[in-house]
């Protein structure tokens, strides 16, 4: 059985660390020096547009790919020992396939045995995990009859079959409806907090990720453009954001609202940032950054003007507080 290293003795132990990981394919650099760390009991979000290097990073950290240079450590085990690392990690790859004829119980039992558990113990583990992910009523049904959400939950169960120290989830909510996404993310949070595991989560769902991630690494074109706790990342980029106040109005009121706002003192300009949802970004003039007493005054003036003009205010947000803003700001060059 695996030795539990001393560094796992408390919930704040560093469970995963990467140092300057790089990956090149001929002349193409897919990953340009990934360095980060993750503590047990926390969820790390890997964010980035398509082609940013997220999946390449995950595949290197899960030993599917070899890095061109750099190294990483999982639960005290160096990347030079990939088999030992695979014993300590659980992975839900993106777009995972399942054998349609196998049952959920059979599938998890098989993988538990591949991780060295005797058959009887493997069946118990399978039964327990199916209950943990809410599939106990479909345990003996063929996987071919599962819905997409059920398969994702089965995939998470398989990722937990060896009681890993770190769990990697690559786009786990892809293809799920909003309810399914919420349930699955709740499950992910439970894995980290309830089981004191490190979770690395790759996703495009920024608003949901913001709710469950403790730490974040934002990647763009193979490089890390921001990393740290969610609060640190959104706070650091606060001063760089163009739109420090966001206001949401009905589509029919957008034009009028924009004209009204740009006529107000203290407002430099107002631009439409999300036409579908009706969000307007408002940049304040001069040294005003929307915070502090002057900022308060300008914001109150904005709101007052809108109320007096009888504009329905559907949302109001102080810019710089959302991960989505940071993400769009930092990855803007690759989004055309």
């Amino acid at each position: 059985m695996n030795q539990v290293p001393d560094s796992r003795s408390n919930g704040q132990a560093e469970i995963l660390s990467a140092q300057d990981l790089r990956k090149t394919y001929g002349n193409r650099v897919a990953l340009k020096g990934l360095t980060f760390s993750l503590k047990a009991g926390r969820v790390l979000g890997f964010l980035g547009p398509n082609g940013a290097g997220k999946t390449t990073s995950i595949r290197i950290l899960t030993t599917i790919l070899r890095p061109s240079s750099g190294h990483f450590v999982v639960d005290g085990v160096s990347s030079e020992h990939p088999v030992a690392i695979r014993r300590r990690i659980g992975v839900l790859p993106e777009g995972l396939g399942f054998p349609k004829q196998m049952t959920g119980t059979g599938y998890l039992t098989y993988f538990a045995q591949l991780y060295g558990r005797p058959a009887a113990e493997a069946r118990q583990i399978a039964s327990r995990l199916l209950e943990d992910v809410g599939l106990q009523n479909r345990a003996d049904s063929a996987i071919g009859s599962y819905s997409h959400g059920m398969r994702q939950r089965l995939g998470i169960a398989r990722a937990l079959v060896n009681d890993p120290a770190v769990v990697f989830l690559d786009e786990p909510t892809l293809g799920l409806d909003p309810r399914g996404q919420r349930e699955l993310l709740s499950l992910v949070q439970g894995i980290a907090r309830g089981r004191n595991k490190g979770v690395v989560l790759c996703s495009h769902l920024l608003s949901e990720i913001e709710g469950i991630c403790d730490d974040v690494v934002i990647m763009n074109a193979g490089e890390v453009v921001a990393k740290g706790s969610v609060a640190e990342v959104t706070g650091q980029s606060h001063a760089n954001l163009d739109h420090l106040v966001r206001i949401r109005v009905p589509a029919t009121s957008i034009a009028m609202t924009r004209e009204l706002l740009e006529g107000l003192p203290g407002v430099e300009h107002a631009v439409l940032t999300d036409e579908r949802a009706g969000w307007l970004g408002v940049k304040l003039a001069g040294s005003l950054d929307g915070s502090g007493p002057d900022g308060h005054h300008v914001r109150n003036t904005l709101l007052d003007a809108l109320i007096r003009a009888d504009v329905p205010i559907l949302g109001f947000d102080i810019g710089g507080g959302r991960l989505q803003d940071v993400f769009l700001q930092l990855t803007a060059e690759s989004i055309q």
Partner: protein, 254 residues
């Protein structure tokens, strides 16, 4: 680990119906072949022992096809179904994965041999050649099955799609059958003997003919064992020593 993988693959192949479908087709082909051979024999167009040789050769030819297809789909099929990555993520060594799948892909061959027994027995009409035919058929067929399944897996490891691996395998298979279509005069010539010696399929066929139809001893025909043995050893080396440790999620990845 390889045992677990073999068991799982075996169940999937047999319970899923894939192998049974191929064996059913195999049974139909053997039935047609046996009927034609029996008719020829009754018309004194073909001597009894030669009839038995053709039946055994057909058993091997058709049986190898099943193994080749199973091998060709073994890894590239998993890639297409996105079920290979979870296997690669387990602590199982890559060689163990290949061993387990190889043994599972070999499993149709013994079944094909068993299916062929009544056909060969009927065609031998009680002649002692039956036991010799079953023995040498099993020996040469197993040697060839190992080579063909191994070759199929070798191509599969280095192919990203089953379509590619099947195409390559079937092309090679067809190529190895071509010498059998060449005129007898050529096959008996010096060039023809050389081709027979290096082509493992043709080599097996010549050995069976000489042992079963002409009554030659092993000492006289050992040369025809060389090609199948060498090719099998080469393929096994390439498969387990070279390719298996290099098994990757994508065939073209580093």
């Amino acid at each position: 680990m390889w045992w677990l993988i073999f068991k799982q693959e075996f169940v999937e192949m047999w319970a899923g119906g894939r192998v049974l479908n191929y064996l059913a087709l195999y049974g139909v082909l053997m039935s047609i072949t046996a009927y034609l051979l029996a008719t020829n024999n009754q018309l004194n167009l073909l001597p009894l022992k030669q009839t038995v040789v053709v039946a055994v050769t057909s058993t091997i030819t058709f049986g190898l096809f099943i193994g080749l297809v199973m091998g060709a789909e073994s890894i590239s099929g998993e890639r297409e179904r996105a079920t290979l990555e979870p296997l690669l993520l387990t602590p199982s060594g890559h060689r163990q994965i290949v061993v387990g799948k190889f043994l599972a892909a070999m499993s149709p061959w013994p079944a094909a041999m068993i299916v062929s027994v009544p056909y060969v027995a009927t065609l031998s009409q009680g002649d002692r050649v039956l036991w010799l035919a079953l023995f040498w058929g099993a020996v040469m067929g197993t040697l060839s099955a190992i080579a063909f399944v191994g070759f199929g897996m070798l191509v599969s490891i280095w192919s990203d799609s089953s379509r590619t691996s099947l195409f390559v395998c079937l092309l090679v298979y067809a190529g190895l059958l071509i010498p059998a279509q060449l005129p007898t005069e050529f096959l008996n010539s010096r060039s023809g003997v050389l081709v027979s010696a290096i082509d493992p399929v043709q080599s097996s066929s010549r050995l069976l003919t000489k042992v079963l139809a002409e009554g030659r001893s092993l000492g006289e025909v050992w040369i025809y064992l060389v090609a199948p043995a060498v090719v099998t050893a080469l393929i096994m080396g390439l498969l387990f020593a070279y390719s298996a440790p290099r098994l990757r999620l994508a065939a073209t990845e580093e």
